[in-house]
Symmetry: C2
Subunit: 477 residues, 2 copies
């Protein structure tokens, strides 16, 4: 039986799509989210259970052992930003989509845990948690399409990391199909388990290169009694960092969001989406969006917030501020923040970065790097925004106003990346804070990653996936 027939036997004929099938359109799985790469799969396979995933992996492993050049690319919601979840152009890769495995297996209120399959869409997971009276705090732009399996594979960050951590910190246990097609049943709901090496965190963030995550037990939190959002004008990045310190001190764990947005980024939202009514941006180089979640009530949250902002105004680290009066205003403020991504696309192509730097070094990093870029590319415009609470900036470089965007990308992308990443290295930062490595940054690691770390990564890959069956060429070249 050839591989395609074996795959059909494993998951059912209807769940194996190939280019030979009349009328089959595989592009939703072959085209990456940012439309940078269009691959060609040998087949798209849609297993419906963990056992089926294991059968698929065993079938492909056997074909490879028999000399066929085949491999597996696991995929969640296909919203990744680093080309880590689409097949390459060779036509030899089996695209394994987890989308059919989307059940919530169990919810344990007293243990504050929920067990879900990898294909569960993040927004559905949030909703199931909410319906049960709890908060599942992972939240990011793609939440309507991305899956928890993809979030785990990339260790996704998002907007509440300052309080709840990345996806890694929200996960207690995993179920994984190994490169040998075995099933590791590690779906523990335990907060403490010191019986050996931490396999869970090795698979999280491995982008499907060490094993296929099929299910996970995630933490739940009590739903806050109130949530408030404020928007503040700050006179400099130094002041933004100072405000962050004050917010930590005054709100403690109530601080659930701390986003910074540069004036040019906000001007693009104002220009392309004037109906969104961006507040306070005209007279200040930076705005900050803060969120405060309160376990008591709205009145208390508001008093807390006002004390913080008064102190910040006194100290001069805030020049003006508004606090959302109701949920719809709060959503409006977040919507502005989230519209930066679209607004910059409306303005034309830009060179995107997803970097992190120790918070204390961010003001210097931004000042230095802005100046370097301005010297190199006269008229360059910086779309600078991000999760300052986590030291994570989306430090994007937009073409000068009159430039041709396509030509700008072609001529400058490599040079700008080098300049920015060298600065990141100098300030002890990371060239991929929350998006991952994928194919896009894999060739950067030898330059920007500690060589001993890289050597250990290679050893671990060889140990768990000796035949390079799983997502080859991603994370490690």
């Amino acid at each position: 039986m050839n591989l395609i027939d074996q795959l059909r036997a494993a998951v059912g004929t209807a769940n194996v799509l190939t280019h030979d099938d009349p009328g089959a359109d595989l592009s939703p799985w072959e085209q990456d989210w940012r439309k940078r790469v269009r691959g060609k799969a040998l087949a798209v396979v849609r297993p419906g259970s963990t056992d089926e995933v294991a059968s698929v992996v065993r079938a492909v492993a056997a074909a490879r052992a028999a000399g066929q050049s085949v491999s597996i690319v696991p995929q969640g919601g296909n919203t990744g930003l680093v080309v880590g979840g689409v097949p390459d152009a060779s036509g030899t890769q089996v695209l394994l989509t987890l989308q059919r495995m989307n059940r919530v297996r169990a919810i344990d209120p007293a243990n504050l845990t929920i067990t879900v399959e990898a294909g569960c869409v993040l927004q559905n997971l949030q909703k199931v948690a909410d319906d049960a009276g709890f908060l599942f705090p992972l939240s990011l732009g793609a939440e309507g399409s991305c899956t928890i399996g993809g979030n785990l594979g990339t260790n996704a960050g998002g907007t509440q990391v300052v309080r709840y951590g990345n996806t890694r910190e929200l996960c207690l246990g995993l179920e994984v199909v190994t490169a040998q097609g075995e099933i590791w049943s590690g779906l523990t709901g335990l907060r403490k388990d010191n019986t050996g090496y931490d396999l869970r965190d090795l698979f999280i963030g491995a982008e499907g290169t060490l094993g296929v995550v099929t299910a996970a037990t995630m933490k739940l939190y009590p739903r806050p009694a109130a949530q408030l959002t404020a928007w503040a004008a700050v006179p400099s990045m130094d002041h933004a960092v100072q405000l962050l310190g004050l917010a930590h001190q005054h709100l403690g764990a109530g601080l659930t969001g701390f986003e910074v947005m540069g004036q040019f980024a906000l001007s693009l939202v104002d220009k392309h989406y004037p109906q969104l009514r961006v507040p306070l941006w005209r007279d200040t180089p930076w705005c900050v969006l803060l969120e405060n979640a309160d376990s008591e009530n709205e009145q208390h949250a508001r008093a807390q917030f006002e004390t913080l902002l008064e102190r910040a105004l006194e100290q001069g680290c805030v020049t003006d501020a508004v606090v959302a009066e109701n949920l719809s205003q709060a959503k409006g403020l977040w919507h502005i923040r989230e519209s930066i991504t679209m607004a910059q696309a409306e303005e034309g192509h830009n060179i995107k970065h997803d970097i992190s730097i120790p918070v204390s070094r961010i003001p210097t990093f931004v000042a230095e790097t802005d100046a370097l870029l301005a010297r190199e590319i006269p008229g360059v415009r910086m779309v600078d925004f991000g999760h300052l609470g986590d030291g994570n900036l989306h430090y994007n470089v937009q073409a000068p106003e009159d430039a041709d965007g396509q030509a700008f990308l072609r001529d400058w992308e490599e040079r700008v990346n080098t300049l920015v990443f060298d600065q990141v290295l100098r300030h002890h930062g990371s060239i991929s804070a929350e998006h991952g490595v994928g194919e896009l940054k894999v060739h950067k690691l030898p330059t920007y990653k500690d060589p001993t770390a890289l050597a250990m990564m290679r050893s671990l890959k060889r140990a768990l996936d000796p035949h390079n069956l799983l997502n080859p060429g991603r994370v490690l070249a």
Copy 2:
């Protein structure tokens, strides 16, 4: 040059101790904390820098490659409870103590991080953080002697895990000497870094079997404005779990401690330390100690606590409660909790467990296992206490009142362990919640750990330490 001379060359003659040295006493490093095992080291080596650690590892690796049967046991404060940090009896192991490497390298207030060497005593780390106006939240009984390196090696838990997580969750970056004697400089202070596999968490909890942790960058938190402690009588374990849910809901992230203590455990404190004045224990099967850290002020914390306790009294999950009036009363309550360990020792030998179970299953686990043990050993007494907020019980089995403790251990330890661990497995728990595996539980893993997980652990050990140089026989047999 023989190995001992090479070690002397690496760290200085004064920092290599052997049994051949006149008057040398190696017992502080050879004898484990619980005095279960007395090993014999080839030498005790005390490096003063990371480079010296690397030289020591390379020297021992070379000797091993040349056919000598030597290996390395890294040690922190030697307070471990599972025989993971002392040499075996062979006289062939180099005991590598990190105690001289005890500097605080840097503190970064805006980034909320502190970088310390592995030999820094936990209490000193807490103090340096406090002096700088921050909280380092790891806290456990041995904090006056244990080191942060040991805490990392065992992924130590302690009393504030319900809010701040285990040592793993408090660590951002590591510096590690590999089994090849290379230095991995992974001392990042970043909250987000997705540039490859999570090496950090692989070394944390590996008990020195994969590499030697020499330094770490740890998270700091704003120091709470107030901290309050309450002591509540609860009528059953079910009610204790219900109280935990209420506490999560009302205090949110303010809940920093939630300890449960059984009546017999408290009776032992009352009996052996009557001056401690244990409250409320006579008329209730369980007491709970709760801690609430507040970012506002004491008045607010007290109001919060009172609301919680009123609600709990209404719902019948608390029958009586006291809130400490001041810091000294609060310390007194914690002292009672921490005195259980000594009180049970005063009473005689017992069989100790450090288990975790999903919180929702703890009432059933305790009822079932208590009954099984009572049937098997008439008159057996249960010293049951622990970190209920984390699902972690120290479920200790004390000899019947008139029994000979030594004989009880001899006759029953193996049988009681099997009975308790089988119950733990049945309830999806862990046989080592916060103490680790060491030598003490290494032979239990094949029975109680998922076989696929164990196979992956062996692969990882072979990948990073192929010659089994580091702490052989611990974690993996």
